[in-house]
């Protein structure tokens, strides 16, 4: 495993182009585009203000930089560096900006979710979509980029509009049976739309592309409900994480629950392997505790970590949430399927330092990763069954079915990994610190051969 040198970055804005060739990073009000392989700066763009959002277009030709405070969006072209585009939302404000899947339109959500403005870069045309709903995930494009589902609120009722992204033609518009729609997500094949209610009610609705209600699923009543929803890449399963610390897997034929994964405080499943991160401070003699060491060596404060396989049963650290506060830190908040559909990684919020990996073939717990600190972020390798995670310290953790490894990021100044992103090839990993970034290259034996 190799690490690149450290680059500056701000707001954790750092993205690899969809084609995997370029790396765009934002440093204050500058946008830096590098070649991923050489890390040479290809282009440097200067925006009008500090960039708060940055996004690549789907064809990797344009980069959108949004400055929400000023209600501005600037678009840069990679092919024509002198080409420029500026969209000003004016006094109406801007809270969100995104590309349409074709990479020729920009969707801006105005403040108060008053409307969504669709700007066309081809024709400079502007169109508005009224009544967008302010919610967890109110807008979603199908994976092939042909349809957009939008949650709307009119007359105290929830609606879903399905648009054809090609010409923003409203294909379907239907009312949903929700009290307060919280999110919607297309299945990866783009044929089913999962819609879920707010956490006050456990309700997941499945709509066909043509607006038919396929099924309704509700696991229980009278308690805080859905916290997270995720489709498997094959569209075969829908995983629903809820406040009752369980994940329910729904199948795509009967839309009924086929499995339920619990997150118990005591891991007893004999099939599971429990990896526990053990920190070891390097033994330092008193004579070595000189001023020199302290001033120069960041390594002094670095602890080495390794994983130990615990014998079952294992007690997992649990933090009891405050019942008097809203949005209690309990329940499954993150769900992620591996690219080959074989594994599901979950995180239960009241066990913040633990990542659970479930085997979707056996429908059982495969591994439990118990970290020393709370898990900040985890992401699956887009090509291999490999999970990368970080906990806000100087280490990178990787899990694969073969085992578990903790790697110290060998940079000076104590690079703390707050977030990470896989390169689309799965060969490298972008590690984001507070104001820095660093690339981590995986050693691929296949390539060597």
């Amino acid at each position: 495993m190799n690490f690149s040198e450290v680059f500056k970055q701000s707001n954790q804005l750092c993205k690899v182009s969809p084609d995997g060739k370029y790396l765009a990073t934002c440093v204050q009000y500058r946008l830096v585009v590098r070649d991923v392989s050489t890390l040479q700066i290809m282009h440097l763009y200067t925006c009008l203000d500090q960039i708060s959002h940055m996004e690549w277009s789907s064809d990797s030709l344009f980069i959108l930089c949004a400055m929400y405070k000023r209600g501005l969006v600037q678009v840069w072209s990679l092919e024509q560096p002198d080409w420029h585009c500026k969209i000003d939302e004016g006094s109406i404000g801007l809270v969100s900006s995104r590309w349409s899947p074709d990479g020729r339109h920009i969707l801006n959500t105005t403040e108060f979710h008053l409307r969504i403005t669709v700007w066309s870069l081809c024709t400079k045309a502007v169109s508005y979509i009224k009544y967008p709903k302010a919610c967890q995930k109110g807008i979603d494009f199908s994976r092939d980029g042909s349809y957009m589902a939008l949650a709307e609120r009119r007359d105290c009722k929830d609606f879903v509009s399905i648009f054809v992204c090609d010409d923003w033609h409203l294909l379907r518009h239907f009312e949903t049976e929700t009290q307060d729609l919280a999110g919607l997500e297309w299945s990866p094949n783009g044929c089913v739309l999962a819609v879920w209610d707010s956490c006050l009610e456990y309700k997941v609705l499945l709509y066909s592309l043509d607006g038919r209600l396929l099924s309704t699923y509700s696991a229980y009543e009278w308690s805080l409900g859905v916290k997270s929803v995720s489709w498997s890449p094959s569209s075969q399963f829908l995983a629903i994480g809820s406040y009752d610390e369980k994940v329910r897997i729904i199948n795509h034929i009967t839309w009924k629950k086929i499995a339920q994964f619990q997150h118990p405080a005591t891991v007893e499943s004999t099939k599971a392997t429990v990896y526990k991160e053990v920190e070891r401070r390097p033994a330092v003699g008193t004579d070595e505790m000189s001023l020199h060491n302290i001033t120069t060596g960041s390594t002094l404060f670095n602890t080495q970590s390794k994983y130990e396989i615990c014998s079952l049963p294992v007690q997992v650290p649990v933090v009891k949430p405050d019942p008097d506060r809203a949005n209690p830190k309990i329940g499954v908040s993150v769900l992620a399927f591996s690219s080959n559909n074989h594994y599901l990684a979950t995180k239960n919020d009241n066990m913040a330092s633990v990542v659970w990996v479930w085997n979707m073939q056996m429908m059982s717990l495969q591994a439990v990763l118990e970290q020393t600190s709370a898990v900040r972020c985890f992401q699956w390798d887009p090509c291999h069954p490999r999970l990368a995670l970080c906990t806000g310290n100087t280490k990178l953790y990787l899990w694969s079915p073969g085992g578990c490894v903790a790697v110290q990021v060998p940079t000076e100044g104590g690079f703390q990994v707050h977030s990470l992103n896989w390169h689309c090839s799965g060969n490298s990993l972008i590690l984001l610190g507070k104001e820095q970034l660093c690339l981590c290259y995986m050693e691929t034996d296949e390539e060597d051969k």
Partner: protein
């Protein structure tokens, strides 16, 4: 009367032991009576007649034969009658006393029992009182509890009402809240609308797009006008994607179905093959059964079903599927029953087998049985010997390996006993040693004496010789000489440091013990006994200085034994040696 008295006697006697002080008292009172009689004389010489008559009356009143009979002229006192009467009186008196005693005892008993009963009565009364009190207490408590229950029930009712009220409140609040929410949302929407309107009306210049030059579409096409055509196209595309998805899913399902059907077919085939292979066998087993026809029918049916199912794979329709599942179900039922039958058969077969083996190869069976019996016997013997050995081991103190606590104690005891024995033996040995010393000294003395005697005899013989004719004595001297020479040689040999074996051998070599004894006896008849003792003593003492082998025998055994041993030495040398070693 006598019977009752006897019974009373028995009773009184049993009571008497218990109430001895009472008897004493009665006796003393009797004595007092007597004294009083003595004082006031009842009968004097003057009033004998009256007394007599009086007594007679009294006695007759008591139901006894009269003492005195007025027989005509002379009134004589019938002494026998008097005595009898007196005896009877005394008896009566005693009986009376006894009954009195028993009555007294009875009375005491009854009085004590009365006391006891009274006590119990009072106790019971107290208990009754107590239970009454308790009862009232319990009643009181029950009343209280009932009151409490009532109050609790009312409380519960109140609570329920409260809950209902609260629920109502919550519901009303919820509806109120929902209403408010809706109102707010509407207001919010209105505001949004207004804002939107304002923004539109204002024609805000700021909101604008500033593009250097328009860029082409990603697909390179030009954007189209929105027409009904495009709408239809979109619809069509949507349905196309949906259809393709359904198609894909359908294909998957078909594939899966085919796979499952294949598996089913395979299972069915296997079943059929199994069942058909069984059928002929069953048929041949019991051809006389009436169910032959049925089975054949069944088979036909089965085949038919099978065929139809085969077709069904190709037919692929609902009807065929039903047939297939039906046939599978049928086969499965048959298989199940078959397996069940097999199960029952298995037990049957076992029994039959046992019978068969008995009947057919009887000889081998018997042989086998014999062999097995022999083996069992051997095993039993083995076990027995093992047990014996084990017991022996346990009982013998020398075994320390398997010594349990008990055996340890046993061993200790044994050790102590052995130690004691050892001590006594040691003492004995010492005694023997002393005795031996004495004996050796005596032997030395004796030899000296013998020497002296020999010398005396020599002188005496010399005298004789000198006195008598030289012919008569010339015969004796060589004999004697030879004897003395033998003795001396024996002694010297014994004295010489020779190995004990040699020492022991030499007498047997030279002569049997009896002649030797005789020779010795001839030398001195008086010392026969002593010499008899000495010889072994000599042989045992001397080797003591030389070899330890014989010394042991000497130390351990009494002189009698040593003697005996000496005999044995003479008889069988090796045997004695064995004995020595064993000792």
């Amino acid at each position: 009367m006598p019977e009752s008295s006897l019974v009373k006697d028995g009773r009184s006697s049993s009571v008497e032991y218990g109430a001895s002080p009472l008897r004493q008292f009665s006796q003393s009172s009797l004595l007092l009576h007597r004294n009083s009689y003595m004082l006031s004389t009842f009968c004097t010489e003057h009033n004998v007649q009256q007394c007599l008559s009086h007594i007679n009356q009294e006695i007759s009143s008591l139901g006894l034969p009269p003492v005195w009979t007025e027989s005509g002229d002379s009134s004589e006192l019938n002494i026998v009658a008097v005595l009898n009467c007196m005896y009877d009186l005394i008896q009566l008196q005693r009986r009376g006393l006894r009954t009195l005693e028993s009555m007294e005892v009875e009375q005491l008993k009854s009085s004590s029992s009365i006391d006891h009963l009274q006590l119990t009565i009072t106790h019971l009364k107290e208990q009754l009182e107590l239970s009454k009190r308790e009862n009232t207490g319990l009643l009181e408590r029950e009343r209280q509890l009932q009151l409490k229950a009532k109050s609790l029930q009312s409380c519960l009712k109140n609570e329920k009402e409260e809950v209902q009220k609260l629920q109502n409140i919550i519901a009303s609040r919820a509806s109120q809240y929902n209403h408010e929410m809706k109102r707010k949302e509407r207001e919010f929407n209105k505001l949004k609308e207004r804002l939107n309107q304002l923004l539109v009306d204002k024609k805000e210049k700021k909101q604008a797009i500033d593009v250097l030059n328009n860029i082409g579409r990603a697909d390179g096409k030009r954007s189209l006008w929105k027409t009904e055509k495009t709408e239809a196209k979109h619809e069509g595309e949507m349905y196309k994607t949906l259809l393709s998805d359904y198609d894909a899913r359908h294909r998957e399902l078909v594939l899966e179905n085919a796979e499952l059907r294949k598996v089913l077919q395979q299972i069915k085939k296997d079943m059929v093959s199994i069942l058909s292979s069984r059928k002929p066998a069953a048929k041949s087993d019991k051809p006389e059964h009436s169910g032959v026809q049925a089975t054949s029918e069944e088979e036909e049916e089965e085949e038919e079903v099978f065929d139809s199912s085969k077709e069904s794979v190709e037919l692929y329709c609902f009807h065929a599927r039903e047939k297939l599942t039906n046939s599978i179900r049928l086969q499965w039922r048959r298989l199940k029953s078959h397996v069940e039958r097999l199960d029952s058969q298995a037990s049957l077969v076992q029994m039959v087998e046992s019978k068969n083996t008995d009947a057919v190869p009887q000889e081998t069976q018997e042989e086998e049985m014999d062999r097995l019996k022999l083996e069992i016997q051997q095993c039993k013997d083995f076990i027995q010997t093992q047990q014996q050995l084990l017991q022996h081991q346990v009982s013998s103190a020398c075994d320390e390996e398997t010594a349990s606590l008990l055996s340890n104690c046993y061993m200790l005891q044994e050790k102590e006993r052995l130690g004691d024995e050892w001590k006594t033996l040691e003492e004995q040995r010492k005694i023997f040693e002393r005795e031996r010393k004495n004996f050796t000294e005596a032997a030395i003395r004796l030899s000296h004496e013998r020497k002296a005697f020999e010398e005396d005899r020599a002188t005496w013989l010399k005298h004789q010789f000198l006195n008598l004719s030289p012919f008569a004595d010339s015969k004796k001297t060589p004999l004697l000489k030879s004897k003395s020479a033998f003795l001396i040689s024996a002694e010297t040999e014994a004295a010489a440091t020779v190995a004990p074996e040699k020492l022991i051998k030499c007498p047997s070599d030279t002569a049997s013990p009896t002649p030797r004894c005789v020779a010795l006896a001839s030398a001195s008849t008086t010392d026969l006994c002593r010499t008899l003792c000495f010889i072994p003593e000599n042989s045992s003492v001397q080797p003591k200085t030389n070899g330890e082998h014989v010394e042991e025998s000497g130390t351990f055994c009494g002189d009698v034994f040593v003697q005996h041993q000496q005999w044995e030495y003479s008889e069988d040398h090796t045997l004695s040696q064995d004995k020595n070693s064993s000792i």
